[in-house]
């Protein structure tokens, strides 16, 4: 048995050309498959991350009635209790409280509907990254009186600059209309232009005075855990403690994000299937050639007494060896390229102007969870192995006598 394996090993080096062709096919198949997977994962991660770091966070808590119509009096129930529970919940990393009020913003040029979000800048910075996405101005560090931080789209629409004045019209707790003036302290830009167009950040302390919620009531709590995967766990823990407020994970708030991931994985499966099929075919093709080409030699081996089973094993092992050499090389190339582009990103700005509006950004950083390396390699090796069986079987059908005749 060992001898056969040795022969198989030597055989692959005898015809360097053919062996290289097979190995290169496997390397390419593996590399391209893994790279595309990494690109897709990276794309999706970025999309999700973009949304989570600016708008969604991992978990949000609201008064269940508030979600329907954002009525100002539907504040979070038992706020102190909820906040304490959050502090004591496992895996919670940071959280922040917000006041939310919908109304109109005006200047001399016109008025538009917006949402005013009252925040605590210090805790907010720990939960979202908007403070790092300023294109101009500061994030609640300079202006003393009624500072506002707005999105670039809104600034453009209303022709606002730093220090411009805006008037907001809101309803207070009594249902009366109330106005207040704010000055622009900073302008941010996220990947979500609709968010940039309709959200104005102000200090919670300023907003609470205007709308009349001065007992510390809040409308929204946003929580981040140490990692995204912990979201569901944290949510469930909280749901056990707080039965009154509505606790949602990011995927419940924005199902389209989760859905996009689903669609991608479906396609990847189909794609991998096709790639593997092509690969398999290439291997069968090559190994078949190898068998036919060595008709005489194999015939002779059989004539001198080598068992058919041994021949079968020999050919199978040839393929296995080729795969075992090619696969690690393919893995190595994949790993290097994926890591490189993970750091430097692939610049697609020439091709897809649409990526920005989708909240992705034109530079994609590849990313591949480690288990995918294993899964894809395993699959490739399996396919290669199964592909080898057909030519190996074909070898068995060779008739020794016929084979010798062609000598």
């Amino acid at each position: 048995m060992f001898k056969i394996i040795k022969i198989a090993w030597r055989n692959i080096w005898r015809n360097k050309l053919r062996s290289s062709v097979v190995m290169i096919s496997i390397i390419l198949g593996l590399w391209s498959g893994l790279f595309i997977l990494a690109m897709t994962y990276g794309l999706n991660e970025q999309r999700i991350d973009g949304a989570i770091n600016t708008v969604l966070s991992h978990i949000q808590i609201h008064n269940p009635d508030f979600l329907n119509d954002q009525k100002i009096n539907d504040t979070i129930i038992n706020k102190e209790f909820v906040l304490n529970s959050i502090k004591n919940t496992d895996k919670v990393y940071k959280f922040t409280e917000r006041l939310i009020s919908t109304g109109m913003v005006s200047n001399a040029k016109g008025s538009y509907g917006i949402q005013l979000t009252g925040i605590n800048p210090d805790t907010e910075k720990q939960v979202t990254e908007i403070y790092s996405k300023l294109i101009d101005g500061e994030y609640f560090t300079k202006l003393k009186r009624n500072p506002a931080v707005i999105g670039e789209k809104l600034a453009k629409k209303m022709k606002l600059k730093l220090n411009s004045k805006i008037i907001v019209t809101l309803q207070n707790t009594k249902g009366d209309l109330t106005n207040a003036a704010f000055r622009i302290e900073g302008i941010f830009k996220t990947q979500n232009t609709i968010f940039d167009e309709t959200t104005i950040f102000v200090r919670k302390t300023d907003l609470s005075k205007i709308i009349g919620l001065t007992n510390g009531q809040i409308h929204e709590i946003a929580i981040v855990g140490k990692s995204l995967e912990d979201s569901k766990l944290i949510a469930n823990n909280l749901k056990n403690i707080d039965k009154l407020n509505k606790i949602q994970t990011w995927s419940e708030i924005s199902p389209e994000l989760g859905y996009a991931q689903e669609m991608m994985s479906t396609f990847l499966i189909i794609f991998m299937g096709i790639v593997l099929m092509a690969l398999s075919f290439g291997i069968i093709n090559s190994m078949l050639m190898a068998v036919l080409e060595r008709k005489k030699e194999l015939g002779m081996l059989m004539a001198i007494g080598m068992k058919k089973r041994s021949i079968f094993i020999m050919i199978t092992f040839e393929t296995i060896f080729l795969t075992l050499i090619a696969a690690p090389i393919g893995l190595l190339f994949s790993y290097i390229s994926i890591e490189y582009f993970a750091k430097h990103g692939i610049d697609l700005s020439n091709f897809a102007s649409g990526l920005e509006s989708l909240g992705i950004g034109a530079i994609i950083h590849t990313y591949l969870p480690v288990k995918m390396y294993f899964e894809v390699s395993l699959l490739t090796v399996l396919v290669a192995f199964i592909s080898s069986l057909f030519p190996a079987r074909r070898a068995l059908k060779l008739n020794p006598a016929e084979a010798i005749k062609s000598l």
Binding site: V22, E256, N285, S357
Partner: protein
């Protein structure tokens, strides 16, 4: 020349197995490429159809300036003559009028801003299945005085079929608009934002409410699924006075969809590219090995006096014939399959399919039978095969007959 071709032909049939293997590698390439591309393009087409029909329609006609300032004062008169002339354009199935405006909807202490769409329901049914949206009550008919409300609105106001709602707003040319209507039906638009926003009203009723007799804000073109949008767009532009009207395609109105597809398409092309890479390798490998195997025979031919050019020509012929056969076989076998999935789209099962359904779309992938796909990929692969044949030609060009014969 004739001789060379005859030789090539006979070579092919002489070694059936070898030829078959070559044909097979070309065939599988063509098959897989066309299969994958047909699936991708079919899916995009379907996605476009679904989203466009639900939201904007393929082409919209407005009064010039409406898109930038979507107010009722930018409505225009519905002219039957114009509509009939538009219907004559080939591919146009129907021209659907709408009157759209914002108003306040009120009941008890609750007031909310909503978008009222005055529609001709019989024509709208040609775009989207209204029966699928209906969750209670009935769809109105064009002469009714009842309205259709989306489900979240009904819930907010705590109303059911038969209840009344009041509307107040700004009508045409500054006239106040006000009306009291009863709910005839409640629908689910399958989109949370739309479900909180829309109210549908028979067109005539909307025109009355807004003091906008015989006026519309939109004319929506419903076209044949297979008709070319751009062609119809051009013909419409020819028929309309550019100073008074603006015509827009869905690409202009929902650019996000076009961009999503672009991005996806990019990925798709990348995938096809990779497929081609693997395929090319397959073909190249096959050709390589063929050549190696025939070194002896080729050497003999040279030794016997065949000119190298003739030999190369022969190899080229063999390549062409084999590739052609592979391509034809591929097309032959893939066509019925994509045709079948065109008529009976592939169903996306399980939770992924359900996710699509939740968005109001059918979980289907219909394959595209655009002949351009078949032609393009067949040509590409044919070309690849021919290019691959450069190797044997090169080999022959540098071949020393004596060495070749020794390599038996």
């Amino acid at each position: 020349m004739n001789l060379t071709f005859k030789l090539a032909w006979r070579n092919i049939w002489r070694n059936k197995k070898r030829s078959l293997i070559t044909i097979a590698s070309v065939f599988i390439a063509v098959f897989l490429a066309i299969f994958m591309r047909s699936m991708q393009l079919g899916m995009y087409g379907n996605m476009i159809n679904n989203v466009v029909k639900t939201y904007s329609g393929f082409i919209q006609i407005h009064k010039k300036g409406y898109w930038d300032e979507q107010t009722l004062n930018n409505a225009f008169k519905y002219r039957k003559g114009l509509v009939d002339s538009l219907k004559q354009i080939e591919g146009v199935v129907d021209v659907i009028p709408r009157l759209q405006t914002f108003s306040l909807m009120s009941s008890g202490h609750l007031t909310k801003g909503v978008m009222i769409q005055g529609i001709d329901i019989d024509k709208e049914k040609g775009l989207v299945s209204w029966e699928d949206r209906l969750i209670s009550g009935n769809l109105f008919s064009n002469n009714d005085n009842s309205i259709i409300v989306t489900k979240d609105l009904a819930q907010y106001f705590n109303k059911k079929v038969g209840d009344t709602l009041v509307f107040i707003g700004q009508g045409y040319h500054g006239m106040s608009a006000s009306g009291k209507f009863s709910i005839g039906g409640i629908i689910d638009m399958k989109n949370p934002k739309l479900n909180k926003l829309l109210v549908f009203v028979p067109l005539k009723l909307a025109q009355d409410y807004n003091s906008a007799e015989n006026m519309v804000t939109h004319l929506i073109i419903n076209k044949d699924d297979n008709a070319e949008n751009d062609l119809i767009f051009d013909q419409i532009n020819d028929k309309l006075d550019q100073d008074h009207y603006e015509v827009m395609t869905w690409e202009k109105m929902i650019p996000e969809l076009k961009e999503t597809i672009q991005v996806d398409n990019l990925g798709g092309i990348l995938m096809i590219g990779i497929l081609y890479m693997i395929i090319s390798f397959g073909i190249l490998g096959t050709v390589l090995m063929m050549t190696e195997e025939r070194i002896y025979e080729l050497g003999v031919m040279l030794a016997v006096g065949t000119k190298k050019i003739k030999l190369n020509l022969m190899l080229v012929f063999e390549s062409i014939v084999l590739s052609l056969l592979g391509v034809l076989l591929g097309i032959l076998l893939v066509s019925p399959i994509i045709y079948y999935y065109h008529i009976n789209p592939l169903v996306i099962p399980g939770p992924k399919g359900q996710a699509l359904k939740d968005f109001g779309f059918e979980p289907l992938i219909p394959f595209s039978t655009d002949w351009k796909i078949i032609f393009t990929h067949a040509m590409i692969i044919f070309t690849i095969a021919i290019i691959a044949s450069i190797y044997p030609i090169l080999k022959v060009s540098f071949l020393k007959p004596v060495e070749a014969m020794r390599a038996k």
